[in-house]
């Protein structure tokens, strides 16, 4: 994909360079594994300190500080410590890890090996979703190549440190992206998430051993932190939002795709980089960080107080494109999967589409999630099919309210947030919809296609 001049590429620096291949020779020709060579001469704790100082935050969804996560690892248990790279990439709207794994797998392996060395890990896993079969093959091949050169396996670079990486394929279940569901799956079980406490992976993770779970993009950044130093890394982006982020933009823009950027606003990304809406259309709303995140409505003002006491008052396009910026607008940057909804998109139909997703993907352990997501699918579906009932909007809010915060894992919020936020911002559309679409003569073809749930 063509690189936009406003991009600042770090993780995807070489991925789209003409002639660059996933083979180790390409990576080595670009200084690949130099940071691992540096790492094995360092004190492991010094690497952890550097990652902490960099303020790197997780790129998988929650944005948790990476160095802090590593510092929670129980190092006194006497049990082995495991590291798992989360390459489930199943949050709708997200397609960045796919680029890294298919185009520059060695960068991920180097990032993992640095992280493993820092945390005294002797066995690491890459959990990759089943729907990326070539990605799994590319990673297997890359690990073989890295082993031949002494970057992975026994006695890494003659340092006396040994660590193996195993690629593990999922089987098409979204919940395997949730870290404790992932761990259960890797243990050969159903991916039923575990309850926290006590099952914090850093203490009781894989095989009840201390375990680090990090996203693909997060782990790649370990390479760049060693390269730029924590201070250099922090120069990219606003304070507390250090480094670049790969944004995945899909839906109603002229140039959908993945874009790695430093500091910029949401408007710059959507209008300048992605070319804005299609001709004759306008942007209605944006789901900023994967389908689980709350929707942002165009035309709304986003107001509040900055940490320094000053006030902000933003339109959609002014929102700073980072963790804190999007949080200040009431949503989350999540996985970086941005879905743009233009004025042709019916919000209730979009919600029906997502509720079909969530009811299909609930692992079924918690009654509110299992029953609630199915109920929400049925209600949104009957709205789309012209059988809405007057009480449906209130009923949906009631059901969503009974899921949020009452489940084992954060999937419950992922079901409730779209319902609550879409109704809060587009209530008129839902109510009008219910009334209008009971009309037996209404043309429902387009909305049925958008809901796409049979």
């Amino acid at each position: 994909m063509a690189i936009h001049p406003k991009e600042q590429r770090l993780v995807l620096k070489y991925a789209d360079e003409p002639g660059y291949t996933p083979h180790i020779d390409s990576y080595l020709a670009h200084g690949g594994y130099d940071m691992l060579k540096k790492a094995v001469t360092m004190e492991p704790q010094a690497i952890i300190d550097e990652v902490k100082a960099s303020t790197l935050r997780g790129r998988g969804g929650a944005g948790f500080p990476c160095g802090l996560k590593w510092s929670f690892v129980d190092r006194k248990s006497g049990k082995p410590i495991y590291l798992i790279c989360n390459c489930d990439e199943s949050e709708p709207g997200t397609f960045k890890d796919r680029q890294i794994v298919h185009k520059d797998p060695h960068q991920l392996i180097e990032g993992m090996m640095i992280s493993c060395f820092a945390n005294n890990v002797a066995k690491a896993f890459i959990y990759i979703r089943e729907e990326m079969p070539y990605g799994a093959k590319i990673l297997d091949q890359a690990i073989l190549e890295a082993k031949e050169k002494g970057f992975v396996g026994d006695n890494v670079l003659g340092s006396g440190y040994s660590c193996d990486i195993v690629v593990h394929r999922g089987a098409a279940a979204y919940i395997c992206g949730e870290e404790t569901g992932l761990i259960e799956s890797l243990e050969g079980k159903r991916a039923n998430p575990r309850i926290k406490p006590p099952y914090f992976p850093a203490v009781l993770g894989l095989y009840n051993c201390p375990t680090i779970v990090n996203n693909v993009e997060t782990l790649c950044n370990a390479v760049h932190i060693l390269d730029l130093g924590a201070e250099g890394f922090k120069k990219i982006g606003r304070p507390n939002n250090a480094g670049t982020r790969i944004w995945c933009v899909s839906g109603g823009v002229q140039r959908p795709g993945y874009y790695e950027v430093g500091e910029m606003t949401l408007g710059e990304l959507v209008y300048d980089v992605c070319g804005g809406p299609l001709p004759g259309r306008s942007i209605k709303a944006i789901i900023p960080g994967g389908s689980s995140m709350k929707i942002l409505k165009n035309g709304e003002r986003y107001k509040g107080k900055n940490p320094d006491g000053s006030e902000y008052d933003w339109g959609l396009e002014d929102i700073p494109l980072d963790y804190d910026g999007i949080a200040a607008a009431g949503s989350m940057s999540g996985s970086g999967g941005m879905m743009v909804l233009d004025d042709t998109v019916s919000i209730p139909a979009a919600l029906a589409n997502l509720m079909a997703f969530y009811s299909h993907e609930s692992c079924g352990q918690c009654t509110p999630c299992r029953e609630g997501s199915l109920w929400l699918k049925k209600i949104t579906s009957r709205m789309v099919h012209g059988q809405a009932r007057p009480e449906d909007v209130d009923l949906m809010l009631d059901v969503a309210g009974q899921i949020a915060g009452r489940t084992i894992c954060a999937f419950g919020f992922a079901v409730a947030w779209p319902v609550q936020s879409y109704i809060a911002k587009f209530e008129d559309e839902f109510r009008e919809y219910a009334a209008h679409l009971s009309d037996p003569n209404a043309d429902r073809q387009a909305i049925k296609e958008l809901a796409c749930n049979g």
Binding site: E131, A172, A191, E449
Partner: protein
């Protein structure tokens, strides 16, 4: 169990990769499903025996994960993404075209046995929506016309 030699080799290579044998359930099921097309009860029992776990622990995995199946499907496995970005880009029409071309319905083996068409959830390629998987191959930026071309190719390959 009548497994191909390469399947058996894959299975033997997978087990020692894991600190605990049960972790190899999914790789074993992947290998067997590729070999046999689906996971029979016999296969589930074989995996259980191989890993020293109870058959129920294998079956509970088979029945949890959408990719593992207990029945035969068509020669080619077609999965059209149905999630929002693909739906906004016309994924539904692409799916309808696939079904019409093979005179079949969702999740059924087509009358000629060529395909089984299913919906899939977000395939992590939303920037080139709509997309679908034909077995292991991802097809991007689909249109009804492109879908027709893919169908023609599958039909031609099914005949030869």
């Amino acid at each position: 169990m009548d497994l191909k030699p390469e399947t058996l080799a894959e299975i033997e290579a997978a087990i020692p990769k894991y600190p605990e044998a049960q972790s190899a359930v999914m790789p074993l099921l992947h290998a067997i499903q590729k070999d046999q097309g689906f996971i029979s009860n016999e296969a589930a029992e074989w995996v259980a025996e191989k890993l020293g776990i109870a058959p129920i622990n294998v079956l509970s995995v088979v029945t949890f994960y959408p990719f593992f199946r207990q029945h035969k499907i068509g020669k080619r496995h077609i999965r059209v993404c149905r999630t929002l970005s693909c739906a906004m880009a016309g994924g539904s029409k692409v799916c309808d075209k696939m079904l019409a071309e093979f005179e079949t319905e969702l999740n059924q083996v087509s009358p000629g046995g060529e395909v089984t068409v299913e919906f899939a959830e977000c395939l992590a390629s939303c920037g080139s929506a709509p997309v679908m998987l034909v077995d292991e191959d991802l097809h991007e930026n689909l249109t009804v016309e492109k879908a027709k071309e893919i169908c023609d190719k599958i039909k031609a390959e099914a005949k030869s």
